[in-house]
Amino acid sequence: MEFTRRKFLNLLLGITGIGTLSSMLYPLFKYITPVKGEEVLSGSVSAGKVGELKPNSAKIFKFGAKPGILILTQSGEYKAFSATCTHLNCIVQYKEDIQHIWCACHNGHYDLNGRNISGPPPKPLEEFEVMLTGDEIFIRRRQG
């Protein structure tokens, strides 16, 4: 194959074209990519006061920017999990009658250890550590 002057110039033109185009597209590409928020929570958050929940009930609390669920079990034990369903991101709730954590979107069930026991969720819910300080309930990520 002969490498003519025309081919050489076309090649140069092509390279310049791609260069110009990418120098325009790169900033736009970066522009539409959202700025990463600071990863929240190395510490703990307050999820409410002792006595606020009746046994066998639950509430949603803010774990940084994400929802968490705090449950006071029938036996009086506090449990806390991420409230984001592992299936498709809905927010779960506590079903008192069957004592399951339940996701209304696609009927996913978790037990009181956060394990996915029925329906489509592929993974268990992340369990958080619950600490009682005075009458305040603090939640933090499990260490290690």
Partner: protein
């Protein structure tokens, strides 16, 4: 007439003259189905007009979106009607597009030389679903909030680029006010521009090539497009307007409760009816299928099915020779039965 002559002296108007003087529409037992494309177009025009009216009051931010729609439907004179028309017309448009698509599929109107009409039509259907999905979030109510969490999380399941894609769609890691502003911009500028372009192409192809006639169907006669078919089209449009006015005023579209990013998904939550069959499928899929997450397998299967439908004009080799390949009819009927059954199942569930 003088204006026409004035224009004709300066521009080539043969294309328009052809449409009004020479274009013909074949008459046969399935002629009825030719109307659904026109109906979809009618509802699309209604969408543009009612959408512009809604823009006068709507505010696209997490703090104000719900309140502004509430203001439209409670305080603005006839605001409830404009909003109800926008929502109802959207649903009727998608219904017409589905009927239009299935009829062109079964009548094999996609075969040579109309492959690109099918392709542009498929793109218009996808754009309509994107219109529906982005528009659904705009009132910022509970149902919309969770539908958007689920819908955008599906992107998240795509290997390698999923995380990036869903963050682009959401404007961050979660569905927030940033998602709302993105969806708002896409809904009122990006999608209409693209849709108008493809719509122009789609209509141009139809005008240039005329209506397709089904294989082996007896043509009774041809009727002139103008005025015979045009008037029939007009009649159907008036009928569509009557249906729209009736449903929009008798069953005003609900606003629901304001979205709360820290409240659980309410029981009985469901997406719009045209997403019900995918929703129900994902609900029934097991958590894991041969080592992969169930919903990923479901999403991939839907993507493959969609891609096959997109390519139908090139896959159906027999139709290109004006022969009927029963496989395609059977695939279509099975898909239709599946969609209908799953939709009913989701409805009752």
């Amino acid at each position: 007439m003088k204006i026409f002559d004035w224009l004709k002296e300066r521009y080539d108007l043969d294309f328009f003259i052809h449409i009004f003087k020479e274009k013909e529409v074949p008459k046969h037992k399935f002629t009825f189905f030719y109307f659904f494309g026109g109906m979809a177009l009618f509802f699309f025009i209604i969408q543009i007009i009612s959408g512009i009216f809604l823009l006068l009051y709507y505010q696209g931010s997490a703090e104000k979106a719900y309140e502004s729609v509430k203001y439209i439907v409670t305080k603005v004179p006839y605001g409830w009607l404009v909003r109800s028309i926008h929502s109802w017309s959207a649903n009727l448009m998608i219904l017409c597009i589905f009927i239009h698509m299935f009829s062109t599929y079964f009548l094999k109107a996609y075969r040579k030389p109309r492959e690109l009409t099918w392709i542009t039509g498929f793109i218009l259907l996808s754009l309509s679903l994107a219109f529906g999905f982005t528009g659904y979030l705009l009132p910022w109510n509970k149902l919309a909030f969770f539908a958007t969490r689920v819908g955008t999380d599906m992107l998240n399941k795509i290997p390698l680029i999923g995380n990036w894609l869903s963050s682009i769609a959401r404007g961050g890691e979660d569905v927030t006010g940033a998602t709302l502003t993105r969806f708002f911009g896409i809904h009122v500028t990006v999608l209409p521009l693209i849709a108008l372009g493809f719509l122009a192409l789609h209509l141009y192809f139809i005008q240039v090539q005329g209506m397709s006639t089904p294989i082996k169907v007896k043509i009774k006669e041809n009727m002139p497009f103008f005025p015979n078919f045009f008037l029939r089209d007009l009649f159907v449009w008036i009928l569509s307007l009557a249906i729209l006015a009736a449903v929009a005023s008798l069953f005003p579209w609900e606003l629901g409760e304001k979205a709360d990013p820290f409240a659980p998904a309410p029981a009985g939550i469901k997406p719009e009816w045209y997403f019900l069959f995918t929703f129900q499928t994902l609900k029934l899929f097991p958590p894991h299928i041969v080592g992969f997450e169930g919903e990923l397998v479901g999403i991939i299967l839907f993507a493959i099915a969609g891609f096959l439908v997109f390519l139908v004009p090139f896959l159906d080799k027999k139709a290109q020779k004006d022969e009927i390949d029963k496989k395609f009819a059977i695939f279509g009927i099975l898909a239709l039965i599946y969609i209908i059954l799953m939709t009913i199942y989701a409805w009752l569930d």
